[in-house]
């Protein structure tokens, strides 16, 4: 990837006229969207509206789905992620991902964090790795919970702790953007709150995009909100996008208003 640092640019990711197809089926229709630097952008909408598909297209996770195809551009530092000379493997390191169900590796907590750096050619001493593991766990507000049991399996943690472990794991490869695909849908309210607080913390250093079913969560914990809806051909479209406060208090589109006031969805 060309290393063109444009620090002045406020958009980390720029989506232009994106269409996503699964085989012959068009799942996403002409979405354009700017993900702002150091902000939390929430993607909301009813089930099947394509918000997860959009999110997964931002770090080329959709490449793993058989028959998935993306048209249009996703610009990251002015580089189109879907250009021929871009390797999806590097994209995914720079744009990390946290999944719906906590999915720690069946390894120790320490190895869960260390895996990412190791496979990405990390060079450093054991103690530097120890520092890195501690730093990531601290950033994910998990250090105090697990500092005495780093050798224990990541699967032994509670659901909320597992999800924070997954966030810490994502941080370890030093991404710029973290994509979260309904990270709290499998968690209880208290764990959800912790993740939201954590997102607020992380915002200072990372750009975050989160898919959520939970409108309150979007309202509470995001700076920008994008509302998606299925059109007549069952393809997802971006209906409205703007600062979260504006979108929730003063929606411009009738459909957005209907959705956020709970008239459907």
């Amino acid at each position: 990837m060309t290393e063109k640092q444009t620090d002045t640019a406020q958009h980390t990711l720029v989506v232009r006229n994106m269409n996503v197809y699964y085989g012959a089926f068009r799942a996403i229709n002409n979405v354009s969207l700017n993900i702002e630097r150091n902000k939390i952008t929430a993607l909301i909408g009813p089930s099947g509206c394509g918000k997860s598909t959009v999110l997964r297209s931002l770090n080329r996770m959709n490449d793993l789905v058989n028959g998935a195809r993306v048209e249009g551009e996703v610009l990251f530092h002015e580089q189109n992620l879907y250009a021929n000379d871009v390797d999806a493997v590097e994209v995914r390191r720079r744009i990390g991902m946290v999944f719906q169900k906590p999915n720690p590796f069946p390894k120790s907590i320490y190895d869960n964090i260390a895996f990412g750096p190791r496979i990405n050619g990390w060079k450093g001493t054991k103690s530097e790795m120890d520092d890195l593991v501690e730093r990531c766990l601290r950033q994910a507000a998990l250090w105090d919970d697990v500092k005495d049991k780093l050798k224990e399996s990541g699967l032994a943690l509670s659901g909320g702790q597992q999800q924070r472990l997954c966030i810490a794991r994502a941080l370890a490869v030093e991404p710029e953007v973290i994509l979260m695909d309904e990270p709290c849908s499998a968690l209880d309210p208290i764990s959800t709150l912790k993740i939201e607080e954590l997102m607020m913390e992380l915002r200072q250093r990372y750009t975050i995009a989160i898919v959520t079913h939970n409108m309150q969560q979007a309202a509470r914990a995001s700076d920008y909100t994008a509302f998606f809806l299925m059109n007549d051909q069952r393809a997802g479209e971006l209906v409205e996008y703007g600062p979260t406060g504006d979108l929730f208090t003063n929606p411009k589109d009738k459909r957005t208003e209907d959705y956020i006031t709970g008239r459907f969805g």
Binding site: N59, M61, L64, N66, V89, E90, R92, R93, R94, G96, M97, V98, F99, K101, N103, P104, F105, P106, K107, S108, F115, G116, I119, N120, S153, L155, C166, R169, A170, A172, V173
Partner: protein
């Protein structure tokens, strides 16, 4: 039980009718339960019958007559003699040449007490079985046996014999059932299995990884997949024919060891048999491996890819370690099948009578199932006893392999 809304007309049975309906459904369930239980019991009965039959042949009374009366060679009972005394007995009762031959094979000084004792029995007393009885007869009809021995073989000595013994395991093949053992067959089977695993495991796992992880869903790959599934059902004798043509005949320079400087004359060697067995079990191993790999959850792969892992890193660090217990299970099932296969070995030409230990991959060999097959086809009842003993050896070998597999599987699934 009363319903909540008595006035609403319902299609569901009410009151007494409802109770009868539930009772009838429960009865049906109980009938099925009984059927399933009887299926299990049937299996248990079949297994017990197998064990009973084998045990029945392995132990039992034998009427043995010695060509030379033990009392004439020594005043003391033979098993109280020291080694030197036994050697003296041996020397005194054998022809000079025969004794010298024994001495040349392995000097008496180097033989253990029990070896010399066995030699005395074998060379001097020359025992002969006159009649053998099964375990059941030995237990329940001892009186009848005693009577029969007394009337028919007054000279004979009746002793309770376990046909399976350490000497059965450690002596090579012999045409005399009293002295025959499974040493060569056991070693042959072990060599064969070792080499089969050596080839089949990497090839099977490799093919499974390719088909499951790399192969795209196109017509060509679907044809390959279908054929592998079909090959798993091909009768083993056909693999034997294939092995005969490819490994024994076509690849003779390799399988006979000629190009490695270990010529054994022709291609009917352990390597040829192992490669044939490899062909036989590869489809099973590939299908099992694929299933194990497919069972690795998608979320794990996604987590790995999401951190910037390449496909190979994902396979190596996550897919394979998590699929390994399943792969081991499949391998052991396949190996168990290979150990018991007889037909392909007959076709590729395992020897039925061989007394020298296999000394490497290019040796002539025999295997346990071949030995069992050979012995069961003989008319003399003694061979039925040693065939049953060989079956016990084969079963124990299978069970130990399975035990190893379970241990390995548990160790690998605990990791992490």
């Amino acid at each position: 039980m009363t319903t909540l809304n008595e006035d609403v007309k319902s299609g569901l049975p009410q009151g007494e009718a409802s109770r009868r309906n539930v009772a009838s459904r429960r009865r049906k369930g109980a009938i099925w339960r009984t059927i399933f239980l009887s299926a299990t019991i049937f299996g248990l009965i079949a297994l017990s019958l197998l064990i009973y039959n084998v045990a029945n042949e392995v132990f039992g009374y034998v009427a043995i007559e010695y060509a030379v009366d033990p009392a004439t060679v020594s005043d003391k009972p033979l098993d109280e003699l020291s080694k030197d005394e036994l050697v003296t007995v041996l020397q005194g009762n054998m022809r000079k040449n025969a004794f010298r031959t024994l001495e040349n094979e392995k000097p008496m000084a180097n033989r253990s007490d029990s070896e010399v004792y066995d030699l005395v029995i074998e060379r001097v007393l020359k025992p002969q079985t006159l009649e053998t009885w099964t375990l059941r007869d030995s237990w329940f009809n001892k009186a009848a046996i005693d009577a029969q021995v007394a009337s028919d073989f007054p000279e004979a000595k009746l002793e309770f014999r376990s046909w399976i013994s350490t000497s059965f395991l450690t002596t090579p093949m012999s045409s005399d059932p009293l002295r025959a053992g499974v040493r060569t067959a056991l070693l042959g089977s072990l060599w064969m299995i070792a080499i089969t695993i050596l080839f089949a495991f990497p090839i099977g796992v490799g093919a499974a990884i390719y088909l499951e992880e790399y192969a795209t869903d196109n017509r060509f790959n679907r044809i390959i997949q279908t054929n592998i599934n079909n090959l798993a059902g091909v009768p083993s004798i056909i693999y034997g024919m294939l092995g005969l043509v490819i490994f024994v005949r076509t690849l003779e320079p390799i399988t006979s060891g000629r190009i490695f400087g270990a010529d054994s004359g022709n291609g009917r060697t352990i390597v040829a048999a192992s490669l044939t067995m490899m062909l036989l079990i590869l489809p099973i191993m590939i299908i099992n491996g694929q299933e194990a790999i497919r069972a690795v959850p998608l979320s794990l792969r996604q987590a790995s890819y999401g951190l910037g892992a390449t496909k190979w890193q994902t396979i190596w660090h996550h897919v394979l370690p998590n699929a390994l217990p399943g792969i081991f299970t499949g391998t052991i099932l396949a190996i168990s099948r290979a150990i018991g296969e007889t037909a392909p070995l007959i076709v590729v030409g395992a020897s039925t009578f061989i007394v020298t230990d296999p000394d490497g991959p290019f040796a002539k060999f025999t295997a346990l199932p071949i030995q069992i097959y050979n012995w069961t086809s003989r008319p003399q009842p003694e061979f039925a006893h040693i065939a049953a003993s060989a079956i016990v050896v084969l079963l124990v070998m299978l069970l130990s392999l399975n035990a190893i597999a379970v241990v390995l599987r548990n160790r690998f699934s605990k990791r992490g």
